[in-house]
């Protein structure tokens, strides 16, 4: 028997019409021109890969070199820093050294260090007796949640140190 099978059945017609309709209207499904079309993965460039990684051993070595084995006085310097930093780019901190600022009782240098930054030293402050009070506020950058350490070297050779832990977090989306 030699009859041709009818390939144009109703089922095939229906399916092919639906398929063509799908293809023609796929513009709205994939949104090629509208806001939100797929793109090359640009977000990789936002992950700025730092070549310089933080070295906690190096940071501790710097801290040891500043203190130089001297005995640390309690309650010499107090540091005020937020618990959670809104943004790592701007963390407002302030410190205050309680001393009389007369004769030989003033802080010669005050160091601020952040242990988990790629460059741990943040700032140094030099005071004189005319300063009145050793009370400074400044805004620093932190790369990740870490300890901020403030070390005060007095002019008579004693050292005071205090620490404060600040959380730096990643916010929405990213």
């Amino acid at each position: 028997m030699n009859f041709k099978k009818n390939i144009f059945t109703r089922r095939i017609m229906l399916n092919s019409i639906c398929g063509i309709a799908c293809l023609l209207s796929s513009k709205n499904l994939f949104a090629q021109d509208a806001i939100g079309s797929p793109f090359r993965d640009r977000f990789q460039s936002y992950r700025q890969t730092f070549r310089i990684e933080s070295d906690p051993e190096e940071a501790k070595r710097i801290l040891r070199n500043i203190i130089k084995g001297r005995k640390i006085r309690d309650d010499l310097i107090s540091l005020k820093a937020p618990d959670i930093a809104e943004n790592g780019n701007t963390v407002p901190i302030s410190f205050s050294v309680n001393c009389s600022m007369q004769n030989n009782d003033y802080p010669k240098v005050v160091h601020i260090l952040v242990l988990d930054n790629p460059f741990p030293e943040i700032a140094k402050f030099y005071f004189t007796p005319e300063s009145g009070e050793a009370n400074v506020s400044i805004r620093i950058r932190m790369r990740t949640s870490s300890n901020i350490i403030a070390v005060a070297e007095m002019s008579d050779g004693t050292v005071g140190e205090t620490q404060s832990y600040v959380d730096v977090t990643i916010g929405a989306c990213s």
């Binding site: 140094k124 030099y126 005319e130 009070e133 506020s137 805004r139």
Partner: protein, 136 residues
């Protein structure tokens, strides 16, 4: 966006206009500076932005240095710093911001200091004959 060459990066200084002798005043400073740490990269080309930070901030009162601060790359951009000074005589407060390329910018303000009776204290020391011995 920030590629324009601008020569007028702003510096701001706030010093109280007057004070009583012996009072401790707050001096606030702010500089407009990008404080590039030398680690960030351009997102399109991958080139590292060169390091450019403010190195030292020096405060002088009547020419004599009373406060110095050394900064490294950890200070935030557009840095704000406030410190204290003891007001003994009237005079000129001058703050200098020194770049790590050696360039400085200055900002000055005048401070008047009065004693309890309201007389202004002038930075001049007189000797026994009431003639000028030293200008502070």
């Amino acid at each position: 966006m920030a590629n324009e060459e601008r020569k007028n990066w702003r510096r701001r200084l706030r010093v109280p206009k007057s004070a009583i002798k012996g009072e401790i005043i707050t001096i606030k400073t702010m500089a407009e500076h990008v404080m590039e740490p030398g680690v960030r990269r351009d997102p399109d080309t991958g080139v590292i932005y060169p390091k450019k930070i403010i190195d030292q901030v020096i405060c002088r009162f009547n020419g004599k240095q009373i406060y110095k601060s050394q900064w490294f790359s950890g200070v935030s951009a557009n840095p704000f710093m406030s410190f204290k000074m003891k007001a003994l005589t009237s005079g000129l407060v001058e703050v200098e911001w020194v770049d790590d390329y050696g360039q400085s910018s200055f900002k000055k303000a005048v401070l008047l200091v009065f004693d309890e009776n309201g007389n202004e204290i002038i930075p001049i020391k007189l000797d026994k004959n009431n003639s000028i011995k030293e200008i502070m």
